[in-house]
């Protein structure tokens, strides 16, 4: 059997079928992926480390390296956590283990999940399987590229302002940022706690729903979690009875490439053909003020969360002459890369006495405006649609010199994140031979609706998730 496994085409659902029918063992399936990784990961660098098969009867999984795994080094893509081996599992890692999903390895990420391209990883970037000269998106570019290239049937990522959805879009796969509070963050390396969510990166919407079902639910160890409605695997192929809103600002924002607009417009037209009511709507303040609001709140929370990396309890410690403060300061300067330092500095500034009201306080009020603007739309619509990313995958180095240009990669994913809303990205087609992502946003806890709409569109679009150059 092993020789016939084509990991390039295999969905997690099909893999589970092979296991259930006894056509191969979980160990053999894990070995098939290990072989694919050995063959193709030299070029793509999706994994920071791989792990041997140690049991579990299910479909193997890759985890983004911000997800704590007992006995397996977890670095969050940062030098300051090099050598850190968690002594306990995060809740999501434990749930995957409990469901019998063997670990394939830990995937690459921008340092502390701060970035949109994996170029901020201290361990070198990952490459896009559709064109290795281009980025896979970020921060969860390792997970997305691994799933796209058949180096994992599915994976988990984490999303603060677009780190699951944007790489899924750039790699032509499916990514879900779940409703805030539905998936435990216990044992996850924290970035911005009022925004961080863990979620699945998969090849199909049904796989996404299955994996969400494994990880979602209240966790006594994370007091921000809530009870989650039962997950329904989508089957419907029409969209009758679904009201779709098309926010003008999310679809016509400056910087959206014409090829991206075209593919998304095609998918929106398809919604109508499938029986949905489609209508244009507005989100003016959320889109205009979402990005500045995010880039105050996320760095402010990051500056606080990253205070724990001091070279005392775990990870890297720099050699320093002098007192304890000198150890902190040199460890942090040598251990953090440029982007975390930038965000720590912005966040510390925004929270400092004298500036707090002018920056952080204002940003929190803007957040209320964003929450209200979305809530008003969900009185009329079941889902909102837009491009996930304004552009297709860009070239290495294209945005690294200009932090603000890189931040714009998340222009369309950020507003709904600020409101704690779930968002699903599915591939909608190709522009210049590169995948375009369609973003579906719903009200809180509407994952089942997103799965239903995403599945129906996926079936109608018939997108082939295997990168053309690997077919």
């Amino acid at each position: 059997m092993k020789g016939r496994i084509d990991t390039l085409r295999l969905t997690a659902e099909a893999a589970a079928g092979l296991l259930e029918r006894g056509e191969l063992s979980a160990a053999e399936l894990h070995a098939a992926y290990a072989e694919a990784i050995a063959k193709r990961d030299g070029e793509l660098h999706c994994y920071l480390r791989t792990t041997p098969y140690t049991g579990g009867a299910g479909v193997p999984i890759a985890l983004k390296d911000v997800i704590g795994t007992e006995g397996v080094e977890t670095t969050a893509g940062s030098r300051i956590l090099s050598g850190y081996v968690p002594v306990y599992d995060s809740t999501v890692a434990a749930r995957c283990k409990g469901a019998g999903l063997p670990l394939l390895g830990k995937t690459n990420t921008d340092e502390f999940a701060m970035g949109s391209s994996t170029e901020n990883s201290a361990y070198g970037p990952s490459h896009n399987p559709w064109d290795p000269e281009r980025v896979p998106g970020g921060s969860g570019g390792g997970s997305a590229a691994a799933v796209s290239a058949g180096l994992a049937p599915w994976a988990l990522g984490s999303d603060t302002g677009g780190s699951i959805k944007q790489p899924a879009a750039l790699c032509g796969i499916v990514g879900l940022r779940p409703t805030y509070g539905t998936v435990s963050r216990y044992g996850i390396v924290a970035f911005a706690s009022s925004l961080d969510q863990v979620g699945p990166t998969t090849r199909t919407v049904r796989d996404c729903a299955r994996l969400y079902g494994v990880i979602a639910g209240r966790d006594p160890r994370d007091s921000t979690t809530v009870d989650v409605p039962g997950v329904e695997l989508p089957t419907a192929e029409d969209l009758r009875g679904i009201k779709v809103g098309v926010p003008r600002e999310l679809n016509e924002a400056e910087g959206i490439e014409p090829g991206v607009k075209e593919q998304v417009a095609k998918a929106i037209a398809l919604c109508e053909e499938l029986g949905a009511d489609v209508e244009e709507c507005r989100l003016p303040l959320s889109v205009e003020y979402g990005l500045p609001c995010y880039y105050l709140i996320a760095p402010a929370e990051a500056s606080s969360n990253l205070a724990r990396y001091d070279g005392v309890r775990y990870g890297f410690r720099a050699q320093a002459d002098g007192d304890l403060t000198a150890v902190y300061e040199t460890t942090r300067d040598a251990g953090f890369g440029d982007e975390p330092k930038r965000r720590i500095m912005i966040g510390t500034y925004a929270l400092a006495a004298g500036y707090y009201e002018a920056f952080y306080g204002k940003a929190q009020q803007v957040r209320t405006v964003i929450v209200r603007e979305h809530a008003a739309l969900f009185e009329r619509y079941d889902v909102l649609v837009s491009p996930t990313s304004p552009t297709v995958a860009f070239r290495f180095g294209e945005k690294t010199e200009n932090p603000v240009a890189m931040y714009l990669s998340d222009l369309l994913t950020i507003p709904s994140c600020m409101a704690g809303l779930p968002g699903l990205s599915i591939p909608s087609g190709l522009s210049e031979g590169l995948p375009v992502g369609l973003q579906l946003i719903g009200p809180q806890l509407s994952e089942n609706t997103l799965f239903r709409v995403g599945h129906a569109l996926e079936q109608a679009l018939g997108f082939d998730f295997v990168p053309e150059r690997l077919r």
Binding site: Y88, G361, T368, G420
Partner: protein, 94 residues
């Protein structure tokens, strides 16, 4: 929009416990000015009377039972420490 001075960069770095190199101080001064000008846009809006949102869910006080649970054994808690001695994290004098 006021520009950030070199002294402010050094002050914030001190608060954040970052021993920035001279090159970093210069670069960050420029970058922070660009970024803060971009994010300063939030101050354009009239937000009189708008309540702040610190958390996207309407959750109030998630209580847990007050029962003792096993905690990490000392040996495990210290297993990642760069330096330890006699069951403590070891650091230079403060």
């Amino acid at each position: 929009m006021m520009a950030i001075t070199r002294e402010e960069v050094l002050h914030v770095a001190r608060l954040a416990r970052l021993a920035l190199t001279e090159e970093e101080v210069e670069r960050l001064q420029g970058e922070l000015n660009v970024i803060l000008e971009a994010v300063g846009k939030v101050r354009e809006l009239d937000l009189e009377g708008v309540e702040p949102t610190s958390h996207p869910l309407d959750l109030v006080n998630a209580w847990g039972d007050d029962e003792p649970q096993p905690s990490l054994p000392l040996e495990q808690a210290l297993s990642n420490a760069p330096e330890e001695e006699a069951g403590f994290f070891r650091v230079p004098p403060a």
